[in-house]
Symmetry: C2
Subunit: 212 residues, 2 copies
DNA sequence: ATATTATTTAACAAAATTGTTAACACAAAG
DNA sequence: CTTTGTGTTAACAATTTTGTTAAATAATAT
C-alpha cells in the first residue's frame, strides 16, 4: 500500500472539514468538535495534528489569502494584448474566479478586515503582489492616455472600481435575490448580466469624453 | 426625580454596549458578560431586561437594517431635480451615510448575508422599500433615454453599480491602506477622491455613446 | 523479534458562557 | 404601616468548548 507520507488521510480530511466549517461559520462560529465529526475522526486528532483551533484556522486563512491574491494576479496578468482587451479579459477572469469561490469574499471580509492583528501580518504580502501590478497597469494607462486613446485614470482607482463591482454582488446576493423580478432564482443569468455590465461600465469609464 | 419610564438608564446602557459589541465582534464573537461589563451592570440585568442574547441581538440588528434601508431611501429620494443631478446627489449622500456608519456594511454582510433564516425574515421589508424606488428610477431613466439625453440602463443594475462602488471601499479599507502610497494614512483624502470617482464613473456610464 | 516511533482512542479537566433563582432593596399605593 | 411590584445582586447550575493525557494500537526500523 503505497501512499506519499505527506498525504495523511485524516490530516487531509480534517483540513477539508475545517475549510468548510470556517468558510461558512467564521472563526468564532466554528466548532472543533463539528470539524472532527464532519471529518470522521475523534476531536483529539485535531489537536494531535494541529495543536489548536487557531493553528488550523491559520492554515485555511493562509491558503485562502493566497488564492485571493493569485486570482487578481492571474486575472490581470496576461501580457501582449492591447490594454482595452487586457482589461476586458481581466474583469471577466476575475469575475469568474470569484464566482467559482463565491464564499471567499465574505470569509475575507469577516475574518481579515475585522481583525487588525490578522491583516497586519499580511500587509507586506499584499504590497509585494499588488504594487508591481499597479505600476505596470499605471504605465500602460499613461501611455494610452498620452496617445489620446483613453481618458487618464489612476490605476489603483480603476482596480478598485473593478474589484468593487466584481466582488460586491456576491456579498450581497441574498439581499438582491428578492429584487431580481423576472430573473429571480436564475442566478446564472443574473451573474452573466452582471459580468457584462461590469465590463461595460469600465469600458465607458476609460472612454475619452467627446469634445464638443 | 422625573424620568420617562421607557428611558431606563441601565436598559439604554446595555443596548449601547451591545451595539458596540455586536458591531465589532458579530453575534458569535460577542460575549454577554463583556456587554454587561461595558454597560456597568451585572450580567443578570441583561437577562432581566432582554431574556436572552438572541433577543438583544435582534434589537440591534433591526435598528441597523432600518438604518441601512433608510440610507438608500433618503439618499436617492430627493425629487424635483433633473435626473443626472439627482443621481449625483444620491451617490454623494449614500456615500456620506456609509462613511458616518463605517462598520455597518461589514456587520450586515457578516450577520445577515451568511444566515438564510435571518434575511428570510427581511425579504418583505427589503422589497417594500426597494421596489417603489426602483420603479420610479426606471421610469425616469426610460424618459431620459427616450429624449436621447442618456444611455438606456436597467435601474437595478445602475443601483447595484452605485452601491457596490460606495460600499466596497469601506469593507476593504484595511487591505487598501498599505497600497495608498502618498495618501496612506490620510483616510479623509482618500475617501474624498473615492467619492468623486464614484460620481464620475456613474456619470460616464449614463453618457450616450458618441455616434461615429 | 524487539525497540522505537507514530497514530488513535476514550476519558478527563478546566474554563468560559449563557441562563436561572432566591433573596434583597426600595419606592409607590393602599 | 403593609403590601405590591420593579429593579438589583450574588450565587449557582448546565452546557459547551477547547485542550490534555495515559494507555492502546499500528507501523517502522534495527
Amino acid at each position: 500500500m503505497f501512499m506519499p507520507e505527506h498525504a495523511h488521510n485524516k490530516e487531509h480530511a480534517i483540513l477539508d472539514a475545517a475549510e468548510h466549517e470556517f468558510l461558512t461559520k467564521g472563526f468564532d462560529g466554528a466548532r472543533t468538535t463539528s470539524i472532527a465529526r464532519a471529518a470522521g475522526v475523534t476531536h483529539a486528532m485535531l489537536h494531535y495534528y494541529f495543536r489548536t483551533k487557531e493553528k488550523i484556522f491559520e492554515r485555511i486563512l493562509d491558503e485562502k489569502m493566497r488564492l485571493m491574491g493569485e486570482s487578481v494576479l492571474t486575472a490581470f496578468g496576461t501580457p501582449g494584448l492591447p490594454l482595452s482587451e487586457r482589461l476586458r479579459q481581466g474583469i471577466e477572469n476575475h469575475f469568474d474566479l470569484i464566482a467559482a469561490n463565491a464564499d471567499l469574499p465574505r470569509f475575507v471580509v469577516n475574518e481579515v478586515f475585522s481583525r487588525p492583528e490578522r491583516y497586519e501580518a499580511m500587509r507586506q504580502r499584499i504590497r509585494r503582489i499588488m504594487e508591481p501590478l499597479l505600476a505596470g497597469l499605471q504605465h500602460d494607462l499613461d501611455e494610452a492616455a498620452a496617445r489620446g486613446e483613453m481618458d487618464s485614470v489612476d490605476a489603483l482607482m480603476l482596480l478598485l472600481d473593478i474589484i468593487s463591482l466584481n466582488v460586491f454582488p456576491f456579498l450581497a446576493y441574498p439581499v438582491l435575490e428578492p429584487l431580481l423580478g423576472d430573473l429571480a432564482g436564475d442566478k446564472a443569468r443574473f451573474l452573466a448580466l452582471r459580468r457584462a455590465e461590469n465590463v461595460e461600465i469600465i469600458r465607458k469609464r476609460l472612454q475619452k469624453t467627446p469634445q464638443r
